[in-house]
């Protein structure tokens, strides 16, 4: 039986562990801290197609959307994952924004995504508390949401029940190699032998790659989310301004904020989300929260009196060309990477795990995996030493 070590017990590591265990591998998950404690717990649980332009990431998102219901069905307590196919509505507030949004939606429709433009009355009906004078609104019924930590721990639990071993509080420190092939990892809890190693360490996967002796240009990008006090139902879809699409696709280091407003089952409203590169600096900046609040109020002016009771920030695994990294390491045989999903890892984890499994077992993946390969320039810049 193939022994696989998965590095990281976030959503991507958990999904990979589950998929590889189901495929018959003997999986050990090595986690520096605790399950779902970092990036996974600090996101909104997005499972989106609406923010993705036609191309490989959209194909991975669609594969994931097909897989998620099957994953949930197989869980003993699918309710705990809080899957909600609530749909997303993207809103443009300016004429230029409206034109760009319509063009973007048309492209997505051509790629097979359902993207229906709402007129003012239909938008007001769908979101009665939102701003009335919008320039354009597009409804994406396929967008969904989960409670991300529950999704990750449920997948991890499924892997463990099927025989995977979970080692928490165990940090990888280096690779054991033999004849150019990785044969195990050294950790703070001793050496773990492996036929294959999967780097699913999210924003830290660049650091983990370096410890294993290879280069991988995945960097942290900071994101903040505001959480309001629990409210009566006020926001019914995932509502975001069209600038969100621009923020995801941009490589600017400075602050980008666009409003993503949605409610949770507990009645709180989540307001995301910023994107800025600040290394692993986890200090909350009130000025950044202020910008986020102002953007949200442009979409939902009626929320002005609602208290924010919490803010949280996390790090997302950022790659310069905005595509996930899924595949074998070009230099170190036996090492695989599954990372670089930025803010989309929750949704894309299901498809990522399936693609990785197929690649590792020598099968043809359901979608073309070549765009995610590790030896592309954005991930392996020339001349940058490990």
């Amino acid at each position: 039986m193939t022994r696989v070590v998965v590095l990281g017990a976030g959503i991507v590591g958990a999904a990979c562990a589950r998929e590889l265990t189901a495929a018959g591998c003997a999986v050990t998950v090595v986690e520096r801290a605790r399950p779902a404690a970092a990036t996974t717990a600090h996101g909104e649980g997005n499972i989106l197609v609406s923010d993705k332009e036609p191309g490989p990431e959209l194909e991975l998102a669609r594969l994931s959307l097909r897989l998620w219901p099957r994953l949930l069905e197989a869980l003993p307590d699918p309710e705990a994952v809080e899957w909600e196919a609530k749909g997303g509505i993207v809103v443009a507030t300016t004429p230029e924004g409206a034109a760009a949004l319509r063009a973007f939606a048309a492209g997505q429709r051509a790629a097979g995504i359902t993207a229906a433009e709402l007129d003012a009355a239909a938008f007001a009906d769908a979101e009665p508390h939102a701003v009335k004078d919008v320039a354009a609104a597009v409804h994406y019924p396929e967008d969904a949401q989960v409670q991300p930590a529950a999704a990750a721990t449920a997948l991890l639990g499924a892997a463990v029940r099927a025989g995977a071993v979970l080692r928490t509080g165990c940090e990888v420190t280096g690779a054991v190699t033999r004849k150019g092939r990785i044969t195990g990892v050294r950790t703070t809890g001793g050496t773990v032998g492996a036929d294959a190693v999967v780097n699913a360490a999210g924003p830290w996967s660049g650091e983990v790659a370096a410890r294993l002796g290879v280069r991988l240009d995945v960097r942290p990008r900071r994101g903040e989310v505001l959480v309001t006090a629990p409210l009566p139902p006020t926001v019914f879809h995932k509502v975001y301004d069209a600038d969100y699409v621009g923020a995801v696709g941009s490589g600017e280091a400075g602050l980008q904020a666009s409003a993503v407003v949605e409610s949770t089952r507990a009645g709180t409203v989540l307001i995301g989300s910023t994107r800025r590169r600040a290394g692993f600096n986890d200090r909350i900046r009130p000025g950044v929260l202020s910008v986020l609040a102002a953007r949200a109020l442009r979409l939902f002016p009626s929320l002005a009196g609602v208290p924010v009771m919490r803010a949280y920030g996390g790090f997302r695994p950022y790659v310069a060309d905005h595509l996930p990294v899924i595949g074998p390491d070009p230099e170190l045989a036996g090492l695989w990477h599954a990372t670089g999903h930025e803010g989309a890892g929750i949704g894309l984890s299901a498809g990522t795990a399936a693609v990785l499994r197929d690649l590792m077992l020598g099968r043809e993946p359901e979608i073309d995996a070549a765009p995610f390969r590790v030896d592309r320039p954005a991930v392996r810049p020339e001349g940058r030493a490990a």
Binding site: A229, P230, L231, P232, G305, V306, P307
Partner: protein
């Protein structure tokens, strides 16, 4: 639940009136909204997620059990807010199907 009678601290009471869910309630100037509610016999005015009644627990603004809507502004800690003449207080609920 009542005010100290014949107060040795030598208090002087100036009456005020507020409404709670439309009903007039009498208090004295200087009381918090929680104080007005408690002194007028209200023990509980908010409900938790299960619909269970809640009133004042910590009394010093920490537990958020006593939240009310004051003059249309929601989530005001009744134990920390002074009552003003004519305040319109409405109660809040987190119970399913009774979302105020």
């Amino acid at each position: 639940m009542r005010l100290v009678d014949d107060d040795p601290a030598g208090r002087r009471d100036v009456p005020l009136r507020i409404t709670v869910d439309g009903e007039p309630v009498a208090g004295i100037t200087g009381q918090t909204i929680a104080g007005v509610l408690l002194a007028s016999g209200h023990r509980a005015w908010r409900t938790g997620p299960s619909g269970a009644p809640r009133g004042v627990f910590c009394g010093i603004g920490v537990c958020f059990d006593c939240l009310v809507t004051v003059n249309g502004v929601r989530d005001v800690r009744a134990c920390a807010r002074r009552a003003h003449e004519g305040d319109t207080v409405t109660t809040q609920s987190r119970a399913q199907g009774d979302l105020r």
